[in-house]
């Protein structure tokens, strides 16, 4: 698809949103804009970005397009916990979700056999409980209670990952065995935890079908990835999904391990200081939906930051390649005004085999504490090199290392590898 043809799609989306949603019409009118004023990408950037706040405040009456209700056919409603409490009630058309998923997974040849004509993969989800829209954190729910209308089985998960009781882990493993999934959709930190327990219990995570793993919800650290790969082996395809509850698949990892952004179902911008960033610079992802008849979103500021790396990749996909940097609210702000993204922190940490989990926390004074859970391979001297790398990356701020056997999750059940109490400017 050419840039000009996709921009025509954007113009249609703007006109559709203007004609059919109360919120966007008022948003444009507040900026003294009409759809016909938007002729090219420069005009387009005159539209003030929209955000989660707008879509939360105006849902459903202001953002659902004329002709739809929350019970219209193919409308899937959900309530997401959001990140750091930035929650959202929203809805999505099931076929838009499928379309975006297909585009995303299309960059990875190892996932080709997942969808066969006439068939639908059996999906099992192991993710933070507030992301699941079903009561999965108590022992009362049955397998049937946790099966979503589309057939996805949500496994039982505790709110505080490292405090998960053994019965809950056994229940999850038993249910995977019974359900026989094709696809595990997991939070990587949660799934790495499950693999550690599975080894301890001398169990296996298998299916008579060919198993695939999609990771999402939070940043996939190299530490988590290494554990998952070691556990499932080379035969099981693993892909890192870039996604948001309200939008579905925004991108996916190709079979060469690079992340591609979906610029087929979305018009994407990477923005800093209200301007597009150059290749190799960090920018916030703004997306404009293409042909979303339910809740069209125009210049939707996702809060997620990426570094665009160009369009060429050995995998053959034309979708732009990006490096995931993380959310603004999780970025470390240094005294010299430099910002270190969660993605950059993960690069510094790397993949030390003696570590099972980590979390870097910056307190309000700016001091950083790197807490980690060592495993049985850890030696007394292991931390020194990491301490030096972190001190270098986070200078002039102080950083200290603490070995722990427990690190808590946020209340939603998500585990963030990088959190700051002094969020970067412009974060929401």
């Amino acid at each position: 698809m050419t840039d000009s043809s996709i921009f025509e799609d954007v113009r249609e989306e703007i006109a559709y949103a203007f004609d059919n949603t109360v919120f966007f019409r008022e948003h444009m009118q507040a900026g003294r804009l009409r759809p016909e004023d938007i002729k090219d990408p420069e005009d387009f950037r005159r539209i003030p970005p929209t955000s989660k706040v707008h879509y939360r405040r105006n849902f459903p009456a202001g953002v659902l397009a004329k002709g739809y209700t929350l019970t219209s056919p193919n409308v899937m409603r959900f309530q997401s916990s959001g990140t750091s409490g930035d929650r959202l009630n929203s809805a999505i058309l099931s076929y838009d979700l499928a379309r975006r998923q297909a585009t995303g997974l299309g960059v990875n040849r190892r996932f080709d056999e997942l969808w066969r004509p006439g068939g639908r993969p059996k999906i099992c989800r192991f993710a933070p409980p507030n992301c699941s829209d079903v009561e999965c954190a108590t022992g009362f729910s049955s397998l049937a209670d946790r099966t979503l209308p589309d057939g996805t089985l949500v496994l039982t998960v505790a709110h505080d990952l490292l405090a998960t009781p053994e019965w809950q882990i056994v229940k999850a493993l038993d249910e995977i065995e019974v359900y026989q999934p094709d696809l595990l959709v997991v939070d990587p930190t949660h799934f790495a935890f499950l693999t550690r327990w599975t080894r301890r219990l001398e169990r296996k995570i298998t299916s008579p079908r060919k198993l695939h793993i999609v990771c999402g919800y939070t940043l996939m650290t190299r530490v988590a990835r290494r554990q998952i790969e070691e556990f499932v082996g080379q035969e099981v395809p693993i892909g890192d999904m870039i996604g948001m509850s309200e939008l579905g698949y925004l991108g996916f990892e190709c079979h060469h391990g690079r992340r591609h952004i979906n610029n087929v179902d979305f018009y994407v911008e990477f923005i800093r200081d209200n301007k597009p960033v150059e290749k190799g610079e960090v920018g916030e992802l703004y997306v404009t939906t293409i042909d979303d008849r339910l809740i069209p979103r125009i210049r939707y500021a996702t809060g997620d930051h990426f570094t665009p790396l160009g369009n060429s990749c050995e995998c053959g996909s034309d979708l732009p390649v990006v490096r995931i940097e993380g959310r603004a609210t999780h970025m470390i702000r240094l005294q010299d005004d430099r910002i270190v993204t969660p993605g950059a922190v993960d690069s510094v940490v790397g993949d030390p085999p003696w570590m099972d989990l980590y979390q870097l926390e910056q307190d309000r004074t700016g001091t950083c504490t790197f807490r980690y859970v060592p495993n049985t391979r850890a030696q007394a001297s292991d931390g020194a090199a990491l301490q030096a790398r972190l001190a270098d990356a986070l200078a002039p701020n102080n950083v200290r290392l603490e070995a722990m056997d427990y690190i808590s999750c946020e209340r939603s059940g998500k585990f963030q590898p990088c959190i700051s109490r002094i969020p970067a400017e412009g974060s929401q």
């Binding site: 105006n58 002709g67 739809y68 209700t69 929350l70 019970t71 409603r77 309530q79």
Partner: protein, 410 residues
């Protein structure tokens, strides 16, 4: 939303906007917001004192002890009790557990309760005795014949609820207590957590043996529950917890408990919160009672009238304003999930209401069959807010109704 309310400005939390939207707090049966004097009292304690109470001889400790005991005295006066008849605990649940465990009932002790009780007036009794619950009718009024029948079983304890946190029904407690006294010699334990925030009680005139309530539901800070007990009954009650502060003497052979109410207050209490309770009582005492009563009636009329008037909603409770507080619980028809609606009422419209089983699952299951939505108003709310709430609910239900009922305007 335009509201004109003489008390609203005293509540700083109501000035808050979320996503640029003024909030309307209608979850008052769970807890009330705090007026500025209460917040100041708590802050002042931490800013100017911060010492522990009762066991210190220094100046700060004595000042803190004085302020703490002044609160107890004011709470006691508010309910017509003596100060030594008021035990300060964490909440109503702890107060009721203290009575249930402290009466030293035998394993077959027979206890009569009510179906519309909060879990905290059911589970402690189920743990210590054989509990029978008095039925309620379809509108949540007590089945008086059934109550009398149960009394013929000569219960050792009758656990009453003054006002249901689900239906808002105020039970005729004076009459019920008279019936109990005439029928048997049961200990009468009253849960007044929902009633006392709305109307005063004189415990001795009421002739109740024990009464529990929470200050946080009547403008006070969280972390303070109160147990009133007639002094001779309190003296016989066994403490729930033992340890520091509740004893006069400890040696290698034993210990001597302090006098009531202190023998029930082991450990360091929520000092700042208790001190804040005095400010809450002062705030309530100076309110114009007739103005407040009229205001509550207007809120109740708006809540009940609104529920009766609209389709898609079933009122769980009486379809009138007689003997009830300004609270309604609604069952949403057509399988509309109450929790999802509560989230959208909050995030899209700014109305904070509660959803679920309201810690009264047996009653909610019986009358509603599943989760409900509860709207509880208090003195800082206005009829305009209730009307706004119902408009928001109507709009949401129109978006969530089954497809065939979709409005022509969409």
């Amino acid at each position: 939303m335009t509201v004109h309310n003489p008390w609203r400005d005293d509540f700083p939390a109501l000035r808050r906007e979320i996503d640029g939207q003024v909030i309307s707090y209608l979850d008052n049966a769970a807890t009330t917001l705090k007026p500025r004097p209460v917040i100041q009292a708590v802050t002042e304690y931490y800013e100017t004192n911060g010492a522990n109470i009762h066991r210190g001889k220094h100046r700060l400790s004595e000042e803190a002890s004085d302020a703490y005991e002044t609160s107890r005295t004011m709470i006691a006066r508010y309910i017509g009790a003596a100060a030594n008849e008021v035990v300060l605990v964490r909440n109503t649940s702890e107060a009721l557990n203290l009575v249930a465990s402290g009466l030293d009932l035998g394993p077959d002790a027979y206890v009569v309760g009510a179906l519309d009780a909060h879990h905290s007036q059911i589970l402690p009794w189920r743990r210590v005795g054989r509990l029978d619950l008095t039925r309620v009718d379809a509108h949540g009024r007590l089945d008086r014949d059934h109550f009398r029948t149960l009394l013929r079983g000569r219960p050792q304890v009758v656990a009453l609820t003054h006002c249901s946190n689900v239906t808002g029904v105020i039970h005729p407690v004076e009459e019920l207590i008279s019936e109990v006294r005439a029928a048997c010699d049961a200990t009468i334990v009253l849960d007044a957590a929902q009633f006392l925030p709305h109307q005063r009680i004189n415990v001795h005139a009421l002739d109740v043996d024990f009464m529990a309530f929470s200050m946080h539901k009547m403008l006070g800070p969280t972390g303070v529950g109160c147990l009133f007990g007639q002094s001779e009954l309190l003296a016989k009650l066994r403490p729930l917890s033992v340890g520091g502060g509740m004893v006069d003497w400890v040696d290698l052979d034993g210990s001597v408990d302090r006098r009531i109410p202190f023998k029930f207050e082991a450990g360091t209490p929520a000092i700042a919160s208790v001190i804040g309770c005095a400010a809450a009582i002062r705030y309530l005492e100076v309110l114009d009672a007739s103005k407040r009563h009229q205001h509550a009636e207007e809120l109740c009329t708006a809540l009940v009238g609104g529920a009766i008037a609209r389709p898609g909603v079933r009122l769980i409770g009486p379809p009138n304003e007689t003997d009830r507080i300004a609270l309604v619980t609604l069952h949403l028809e057509n399988g509309v999930p109450a929790g999802e609606v509560a989230r959208m009422l909050s995030d899209s419209y700014g109305f904070m209401v509660r959803s679920g089983h309201m810690c009264a699952q047996p009653l909610v299951t019986e009358l509603a069959g599943g989760e409900t939505l509860r709207v509880g108003a208090y003195l800082y709310n206005d009829v305009a807010e209730i009307e706004g709430f119902y408009r928001a609910l109507d709009e949401l239900l129109s978006w969530m109704a089954p497809e065939m009922e979709m409005g022509a305007n969409r």
